[in-house]
């Protein structure tokens, strides 16, 4: 060390002390409820998912078809111009296999997740979703063509989950 840097402060609490309560703890839990408005662009996107369609938004200045859709183009910084229906097929941009859940607990069955570039949108435009009907993990590849598997129309609610998952084409 040096003349002035000799000692680093701090007192560790061991996992045992924490779990046995030998260190004084105050416990609290909270249940915050939120209701989020879906916004102008995403409300339309969700309503079209309910119809079994994927919709993007076009900016006439940069000529991009944006998915997920937005009412403004972040590049040109102007309002976007029109709704464009894309296909419900796409390409796996990247994928992973999740073995842990939201709170870091272990999942019984792994989840296949992917960023999917949507056909009919501009290159590189896509969204996050799940993959399924996968025979073996080795089957999943970057660049794999996939198609949306929709819920039955009567079960759709205007949610990202109206697409159950994407499956290999």
């Amino acid at each position: 060390m040096s003349e002035r840097v000799k000692f680093f402060p701090g007192r560790e609490v061991s996992a045992e002390a924490f779990q046995s309560g030998s260190v004084l703890l105050t416990e609290y839990s909270t249940d915050l409820k939120y209701s989020w408005a879906s916004g102008v662009a995403i409300s339309k996107f969700l309503n079209e998912l309910k119809n079994g369609k994927i919709v993007g938004r076009k900016c006439n200045r940069c000529d991009r078809i944006l998915v997920p859709p937005r009412m403004f183009c972040e590049e040109c910084f102007r309002l976007t111009d029109s709704w464009i229906y894309t296909k419900d097929t796409g390409t796996v941009n990247t994928y992973s296999i999740a073995y842990v859940g939201t709170d870091a607990s272990r999942l019984k069955e792994p989840l296949y997740i992917a960023v999917i570039n949507i056909d009919g949108a501009s290159p590189g435009m896509g969204f996050l979703h799940l993959l399924n009907e996968i025979k073996s993990e080795k089957e999943i590849k970057v660049g794999m063509k996939v198609r949306a598997v929709w819920k039955e129309q009567s079960e759709r609610t205007g949610s990202i989950l109206d697409i159950k998952y994407f499956k290999p084409l």
Partner: protein, 387 residues
């Protein structure tokens, strides 16, 4: 023209999974150590900037206000900054404005994070960084975006998991020499490969831990610093930049926003060839692949070539171009904002020959610290130099 700014002291606490101290007690310990290391007292401090990441870990809202007394900010112009994981290097950048502008002669930069209060695991708080309407219903965890980015990086340049694992092996070994380290260890590539799959390709030993800790630096005008030492450490350059929040529309294989931040800092520092003009770097490594990704964004290696540089041994502490001689987040620990500030402290310790067993062998004059965060889109870069 901005005034010349110097770093005159640095301090940090131990980094551990759980600490007894409250966040303000941790902030106080790091701040006191930084002031003692500078050889000054709080009465000489004009302004204070605190940095801390999401409030949800502590369960305390308005963490700036909460950390105030422990950060030395009471009855001073004081503010808290927050740019996610990039906060730790952004906090001293904000302190730099205070001094460079002439507003103050001495400004404290303090970063603190206590992640352990959240049960059952701090991971849970990250759920709320995702889009509430089109991403959260899918059952997201923070690890998803890193795994997806890591996979895309591997695909773009045909990089193997084993090549990435070398970073974890190096950093955890470096951390064995850091007195504050939480996870210093001698491990092998095989250990990383065999460790539990979290979100493949991310395995347990590819990831830094969750931690409690604090770190701080003192910045001062050149005139003030020269009263303390003939040979101060200067802030040579700083930069920051952010990419779009539409992360599923980005090129995940290359951090363009970091290149932008780095070029901003290099321009200020008059650096044309970073690989030759910078002696060592503390690069943000919450995951092992991120060290490689960031080396490329910082222009230390061409796209896809950081793994080769790592495999050659060049980035070892005693190599030609040491990366993360501290042991990084993978080894020292990752109390988010404090982890970035730990890197700034390490650059200061190295430049002033105070790094003890971690002191790099070659003579060093210029070091760089970098952090990364928000929705994997923000980078902050700070370059320190001693003549």
């Amino acid at each position: 023209m901005p005034r010349k700014v110097c770093v005159i002291g640095a301090g940090m606490t131990l980094f551990r999974r759980r600490m007894l101290e409250t966040p303000k007690e941790l902030a106080f310990e790091a701040t006191r150590m930084a002031l003692e290391s500078a050889g000054i007292e709080r009465k000489e401090v004009d302004t204070v900037v605190a940095g801390s990441a999401p409030d949800a870990f502590d369960g305390v809202h308005m963490k700036g206000e909460y950390l105030l007394d422990g950060s030395g900010g009471y009855a001073r112009p004081y503010s808290r900054v927050f740019v996610g994981g990039a906060t730790g290097v952004y906090t001293p950048i904000a302190a730099w404005w205070h001094v460079a502008s002439g507003l103050s002669d001495v400004c404290l930069a303090v970063a603190e994070e206590k992640m352990s209060p959240l049960q059952p695991h701090p991971q849970y708080a990250f759920w709320s960084i995702f889009d509430h309407t089109i991403e959260r219903p899918l059952g997201v965890t923070l690890l998803w975006i890193f795994a997806l980015e890591m996979r895309r990086y591997m695909h773009a340049y045909n990089i193997k998991e084993e090549e990435i694992a070398l970073v974890s092996v190096k950093n955890k070994a470096n951390a064995l020499d850091h007195p504050c380290a939480q996870l210093g260890a001698k491990i092998t590539v095989e250990d990383v490969m065999k460790s539990e799959k979290m979100v493949w390709p991310v395995k347990r030993l590819d990831v830094s831990p969750t931690s409690d800790g604090a770190a701080a630096v003192v910045l001062a005008s050149e005139e003030f610093a020269k009263r303390l030492t003939k040979d101060p450490v200067y802030v040579a350059g700083c930069g920051w930049n952010i990419d779009s929040t539409y992360w599923t529309n980005r090129d995940l294989s290359y951090p363009q926003y970091l290149e932008n931040a780095a070029r901003m800092a290099y321009k200020q520092a008059g650096i044309k060839n970073p690989r030759k003009e910078i002696d060592f770097a503390e690069v943000y490594d919450p995951f092992d692949y991120k060290e490689l990704h960031h080396m490329e964004g910082l222009q230390f290696a061409k796209k896809g070539e950081a793994p080769k540089m790592t495999a050659s041994g060049m980035t070892q502490r005693n190599g030609e171009f040491p990366i993360n001689p501290s042991g990084g987040l993978l080894g020292v620990g990752n109390p988010i904002a404090a982890a970035g500030m730990m890197k700034v402290c390490e650059v200061y310790f190295q430049l002033t020959n105070q790094a003890g067993k971690r002191q790099v062998k070659k003579e060093v004059h210029t070091g760089l610290a970098q952090a990364w965060g928000d929705l994997m889109q923000y980078s902050s870069v700070l370059i320190l130099r001693r003549n």
